[in-house]
């Protein structure tokens, strides 16, 4: 792609300024939609474009909007800006550097969902970013792009920024809604899904920041243009967050379907120090490890292809491990993360991550017996399919895939059991 569609600030200086953004077509999509299309027409366009949720699940965005309970109001739109998956830092760059395209996306989503109130739920650590975003929202109010009777129509809209306070689980959409209601960030039992009963038990759309940022260009350039980027089932651009042992870590906006090899070696400059690649986590801590085989490296990064080699695309936060990395150490890192972030609501996750962490610590300290590796595997398998939300399900993936692919890394730590 010659130009950035999402990270437009890399091509257009000062696009975080309202006048510059408008000079480059900013808010033309919102105006066209609000003055010339019905909400249903917008939903149909987004469905036809094939946009899929960029927060990790890859669920078709227009289909998600279509689930809103008919004729129930008020409705809400919540932008999920709780970006906390280890290795993920794309939404932050969008909101810091190209904030109006994101906010225009929020407004288009609100029009389609027939919502007059939107909340941007930012993780609390994004303190500076959130305060800047509030200023941008003020500027939009002053310019008549928010408030009452936008573009002289009957459409009213307010956008508020809400800060979380340090809890990974609030990225899970129902935990986020609980948190936004002023409660503990613990996932709800589903159904009902947020489209039926979301914020304050009203129909609610929860979309990721990057997903929403795709909307203005889709509405501006059309379905055929959008579908010309990416693959048939995974259309559009994606921001890949590349981290770990690479020469040039960073965000790379590329078409979905770009291979791991192209991302790591062409864009990322290869493994740092010219060392050999050992493993890849393609979706932060929340997916199985992939080995450094040619088959994996030549796999297109899209929602269909990554599962075929045994993992997930998720939020496309690609963490690269070189040959020096001990997978037993890595497993404890990811497990400790999930143990810390488990919300405590369901037993398999709360107790399971606690015990996985204990066993892995014992292994890494050389205090484990050979049968502890079997115990680790048994606890991880015992949690699988039994947790209330994805956090618990994800937590075992680096462990089980690590055991499967790199079991000797664990066995090397086995001491005499004292």
């Amino acid at each position: 792609m010659p130009e950035h569609i999402l990270l437009r600030h890399r091509d257009v200086p000062d696009i975080d300024q309202l006048d510059v953004y408008r000079k480059h077509g900013g808010f033309d999509s919102l105006k066209a939609v609000v003055t010339g299309k019905t909400p249903q027409e917008v939903i149909d366009i987004v469905k036809a474009a094939g946009l899929r949720g960029r927060g990790g699940a890859g669920f078709p965005t227009g289909v998600k909007w279509g689930f809103l309970s008919p004729n129930v109001f008020p409705r809400y739109v919540v932008a999920n800006a709780d970006e906390s998956e280890p290795g993920t830092y794309k939404d932050r760059e969008i909101m810091e550097r190209n904030p109006f395209q994101f906010l225009e996306g929020v407004a288009i989503c609100c029009y389609a969902a027939q919502a007059e109130t939107a909340y941007v739920y930012c993780r609390g650590e994004f303190w500076d970013l959130a305060h800047d975003l509030e200023q941008k929202i003020d500027e939009m109010h002053k310019a008549g792009l928010l408030g009452e009777r936008i573009f002289g129509t009957k459409f009213n809209l307010s956008i508020y920024v809400h800060l979380g306070a340090g809890a990974y689980i609030c990225g899970e959409e129902t935990a986020l809604l609980e948190s936004l209601e002023g409660k503990l960030g613990q996932p709800r039992l589903r159904p009902p899904f947020p489209a039926a009963e979301g914020l304050y038990a009203k129909p609610t759309v929860v979309n990721n920041v990057e997903t929403l940022t795709n909307l203005p260009p889709i509405l501006a350039h059309g379905v055929d243009w959008y579908r010309s980027i990416g693959t048939e089932k995974s259309p559009g651009p994606k921001i890949f967050c590349l981290s770990g042992h690479v020469e040039k870590p960073g965000n790379y906006e590329l078409p979905l379907g770009t291979t791991f090899r192209e991302l790591i070696y062409e864009h990322g400059g290869g493994v740092a120090g010219g060392r050999a690649l050992k493993a890849i986590l393609p979706a932060g801590a929340s997916a199985p490890l992939l080995p450094a085989t040619d088959e994996v490296l030549d796999t297109p990064m899209d929602y269909e292809s990554v599962p075929k080699v045994g993992s997930q695309l998720g939020s496309a936060s690609v963490i690269v491990m070189d040959e020096t990395v001990d997978i037993a150490w890595l497993s404890q890192k990811t497990t400790n993360f999930f143990k810390h972030e488990s919300c405590g609501k369901c037993t398999p996750c709360r107790e399971g991550t606690f015990w996985l962490n204990n066993i892995l610590r014992r292994i890494n300290q050389g205090r484990a017996k050979a049968e502890d590796i079997d115990l680790l595997e048994a606890v991880a398998k015992g949690m699988t399919g039994k947790c209330l939300c994805a956090l618990g399900e994800f937590s075992v993936m680096p462990v089980l895939s690590g055991l499967d692919l790199f079991r000797s890394d664990f066995e090397d730590h086995i001491g005499d059991g004292r």
């Binding site: 939404d91 650590e125 306070a165 948190s179 002023g182 981290s243 770990g244 801590a285 963490i319």
Partner: protein, 166 residues
């Protein structure tokens, strides 16, 4: 009292939510209280419960759940270093160890002058700019990225100066 001293800030917070959904204001009010008192005191919990129309227990339970709220006084500044996997692959643990050694404290401790607490935290969405930390004080949270022990020590020296001027 928060209600008297920060009336307009409280009104701004409450206006974001439907009138019968004041409970949504609890997290923003906790930030306001932490700014005012330096920690979430029992008094603050009671005041927030009153403002949001909920039970004090419901407010107190959030303080333990969300990591950015503090019940006890720490240093005036908290240096919260991300040592999660992507940062660890880029030297965050070594950075954290060396910084603690230079400050003469262990991880989680506060310098003897009460200025700096160093803590380990989970991923802060800055993985390409490790080593990094966030600096939390009563005023807010700011990111410091692509750090070395020297750059962090220079920042700490500046904070010390600011403190002695105050």
């Amino acid at each position: 009292m928060l209600a008297e001293k920060h009336r307009s800030a409280i009104d701004t917070i409450l206006k974001k939510f439907p009138p019968d959904r004041k409970r949504s204001a609890v997290l923003p009010l906790l930030y306001l209280a932490q700014h005012e008192y330096g920690a979430i005191t029992d008094e603050a919990v009671a005041e927030i419960a009153e403002l949001a129309g909920v039970d004090p227990t419901q407010v107190a339970s959030l303080v333990g759940f969300y990591t950015l709220f503090h019940e006890g006084p720490g240093g005036a500044y908290r240096i919260q270093i991300c040592t999660d996997l992507p940062c660890a692959l880029r030297g965050a643990a070594q950075f954290a160890d060396e910084l603690c050694a230079r400050l003469g404290i262990r991880m989680g401790e506060t310098t003897s002058d009460g200025l700096i607490t160093v803590e380990e935290v989970k991923c802060l969405a800055a993985c390409d700019r490790a080593p990094m930390f966030q600096l939390q004080d009563n005023e807010g949270i700011h990111y410091h990225e692509n750090q070395t022990v020297e750059s962090a020590m220079a920042l700490i020296a500046m904070l010390r100066e600011r403190q002695s001027d105050a």
